[in-house]
Symmetry: C2
Amino acid sequence: MEDKILLAHGSGGKLSHDLVEKYFVPLLKNPLLDKLDDSAVLELSGRLAFTTDSYVVSPIFFPGGDIGKLAVCGTVNDLSMSGAAPLYLSLALVIEEGLPVADLQRVMTSIQKTAEEAGVKVVTGDTKVVNRGSADKLFINTAGIGLIPAGVDISGSKARPGDKVILSGNIGDHGIAVMSQREGLQFSSPVESDCAPLNKLVSEMLKVSSRINCLRDPTRGGLASTLNELANQSGMGIRIEEDEIPVQDAVRAACELLGYDPLYVANEGKLVAVVPEPDAKQVLATMRRNQYGARSDIIGKVVGEHPGRVVMSTHLGASRVVDMLVGELLPRIC
Amino acid sequence: MEDKILLAHGSGGKLSHDLVEKYFVPLLKNPLLDKLDDSAVLELSGRLAFTTDSYVVSPIFFPGGDIGKLAVCGTVNDLSMSGAAPLYLSLALVIEEGLPVADLQRVMTSIQKTAEEAGVKVVTGDTKVVNRGSADKLFINTAGIGLIPAGVDISGSKARPGDKVILSGNIGDHGIAVMSQREGLQFSSPVESDCAPLNKLVSEMLKVSSRINCLRDPTRGGLASTLNELANQSGMGIRIEEDEIPVQDAVRAACELLGYDPLYVANEGKLVAVVPEPDAKQVLATMRRNQYGARSDIIGKVVGEHPGRVVMSTHLGASRVVDMLVGELLPRIC
């Protein structure tokens, strides 16, 4: 085997097969993948969630994760945000010719570990190689299928006045971790990406309340864009308290240095839940018992006023409209 | 709206939303996609086929198709090759900053038309934009879900001695069409890609025979690699007749000029079926009645000898081993 990926590894011929059988199948081994037919065959029935995301993060390795971990977490989390239990992933790689095979192995190992933690199986895949300069090292697409338990009905459109808005922890870690790696910034306490699979957290939340209305992970566009999406889809207003939104000191310092607002910086292991007031405390307590929700808090509520708008009460007691992200803050963050 | 794609169109913020709502949702309109939640929710039960492919073809427009048509046909066909009726697609775009919006619209229109012909719905999607030079114009990933009818059991491992090998038409058109466009080659009769959705052809075949053992579309690596895969997976030998394999004159001429063997050139609208001898004639007759199978023929058979190997009786009466593609013939053909 070569130590760099060649165009021929994407040919569909012998080298493609060798790559798959040497590096992919042994790591991701499961009876569905092992058949190597054009499609995986799954026995499933009920309400299925289906989602896709491409990952183009640069650099592909960063503190707290890499593109492989991200590709599993991102799609697992998208499924989870519809209330589904994620079950199966597809995995499609677009590799730039010349990528060290060792880098690919490191990414694949990370995919395997994260899939194992989340309890999902990679059941079908594809590999393409493009000539040098036609892609940047490695792009990954994962699509996912999950099963939505009976009684669960979650949608961005369901927020109702009086519902509490819960955030699962501090914001901005992922964006700042990637950015600091990319720009070679040094902080006294290095920031790690929060990249994590949230499906177990969500399943625990759904066990204590069947009335959770919305779930969403504030990735690209940050918390501000996610709250705006929820306000738009539901036609409600959202009111949040600046003081309730946790930002770790190193992230705050980096944001000040770089001129970013943490509300717009991407997260990859956080969620926002919109929960009817009577269930909010119990959901919050449950979230805090999970390692990925330990710093959860109620950050605001859904209101009937200012439909489609997010308004924040600031630290100084003023109110300001929090818009959706306009323009691009941090390209290629996920 | 700008006339070129900007990095901000992939930000997850306002321009991302505008792009999706102006150009994608109106074309691909369906109740599942329109909800714009993180996942589409599907009611399904039974044996599902699940597959993924990334498309990196260069150039993105070529005679007979474009990357959009290819992205729908390729995944529809992969699902069909497991005997499934394709139902739902995901659509993920990685766009190079600077792509003309008009090109994107043309590709999206082509996706819509092909999805309509195939009777599949795009239900979930993702858009990423990477900086200029970090990708080559446009890469597309589609994953697909289909439903396998009761009684259908198709796998590359199921070929049995005596089974007939049927090919649905002339080979090499797609590869030569893309190559001639890329290299600016002129032929007296221009070669068009055969890119087509084969799901209706397959469903007609399955109606007349529930005993079809293998189906596979000879894409990357061509007919030779596909037959080798079937021989490997089943542990059987395959014997084919050179004289029975149709190649149109312009493709043969181009292959001679370029030094290619048509057996290794990619197709995007052809299939190989392995069918027990008693059902072969009826399956063949059915295929010939479909527009995409009009030139179908029996090109060989499965044998107990030379397990895992494909042997061809040549025009001159000799026998030669047809190997799997080694190395890369035509990069970025799909």
